[in-house]
Amino acid sequence: MTRLFTAASPLAKVAFLLALIVAASLLRHWQLLLLVIATGLLLVRAAGMAPGTVLRRLLWLVYLSGGLLLTLPLVLPGQPALQVQVGSLQVTGSWEGLRLAGLLSLRMLGCFLPALSLTASTPLPELLEALSRLGVPRLFTVLAGMAIRYVSVLQDEARRMNISRASRGYRPSRAFWNRQTLATSAQTLGMLLLRAYDRSERIYWAMLSRGYSVRRPPAARPLSGRERWAVAGAVAVTVALVLLDCRLNGGG
């Protein structure tokens, strides 16, 4: 399955995984959401990701879900699920809030797992090309590609600045509010911003010098017959899942 998944056409993969992500963000029935999550887990496994890496990436989701579980029951009115007395104040959490937090958490997981499998199994250039051919505006894919390309350049610049500061005896204080540490961090960030601004100007010049013009965005390659079928299949999966969800929820 791993071989099949990694060898699949990037466009078909992107189309199907986007379909799963869209479906997961619309579904309301938890059994269907669990089905999407199970599919996502299988895909992550097929993408060859180590369980430890997946769990580390899921940690962010745990924080987000925790935040939702803590706040939504308190702000959504409904049948009381738990009551806590804080001094003279009585705090009530509702079942409706808990249910909504659970639903949103399942949806996030349902969206996250296919996205994880996609980025783990598809090189970035192929991913951006596939998105562009699926109709995502070229400007967005070019900007995303450039942002990712230059993150490493900025990281290198920040690393060189850190080394040069350390070579002159600078040691950041462990206390976050240390005045010198704060000032130095702010200066570093400011300098990085200025350098990024200067670089962006030079990049733009370099683009202009090779004939770039906003008026002439290069066209994406059209879809082949097989790729059109893949996209149609992906759309059908989304529609089928959403219709099934409506039916299970009594057509509402």
């Binding site: 390309r149 030079r202 004939g211």
Partner: protein, 272 residues
Amino acid sequence: MEPILVVEDLHFRYPDGTAALRGVTFAIQRGRRVALMGPNGAGKSTLLLHLNGIYLPQKGRVQVGGCELSAATEEQVRTQVGLVFQDPDDQVFSPTVWDDVCFGPLNLGLSLAEVEARAEEALSAVGLLPLRSRSPQRLSLGQKKRVAIAGVLAMRPAVMALDEPMAFLDPEGQRQVEEVLDRLHRQGVTLLVATHDVDWAANWADEVILLVEGKVIAQGSPALLTDPDLVRQARLRMPLVAQLFGELADVRPVPYRLEQAAVILHRLCSGR
């Protein structure tokens, strides 16, 4: 023969008031290898940006292949003069080497088959075709410089202007870039290289242009680099070969290239 590049009385002042160019005048014949030399802040990079139409003349004129640079002709001029920037990270911005080399030809509105043929030819010329699918951040500095050159080469310009192409390269990287430049020269491309490296310029260039404080103080053969007054005025130094043979009073004219020095040494050793 009509020069391919003509710059006449070119002036440019930055918005903060700094006068970068103060009446630059020179002409370059087709197929020449020219080193543009001068100290930091002489205006070399600003001048190169004019040749490609990134900056337009505030006063004076720039003419490329008979076409005068203006707002109306800047896109046409860009197809004639390719500009390779000093830092390849400024220039090579696409997710893969292949995409980056295709960028220029795509902007020319060529067919996909033509774009791919040009990209393949350009990458072969710099010896990087096997790395076509690589991400630029995974390349060495020398490889990135060659990708930047390929990206410009794919536009098939008549003139290539390169800003410090040897900067920060190890000897192997410098040799590879020099090989690419030699190949382009053999193909008839006019090369204009901004550099501080007097030893390299003396050995490589057919002609040097000395730029100081936004003005050309001399243009001619690399023998100019053996003139102590001129070299001092340009805040450069003489090539090491010229420094060594300058000490020997009876060796005139002073050599500036290794092969010239080798001939003289051979003559001295054989007692002729």
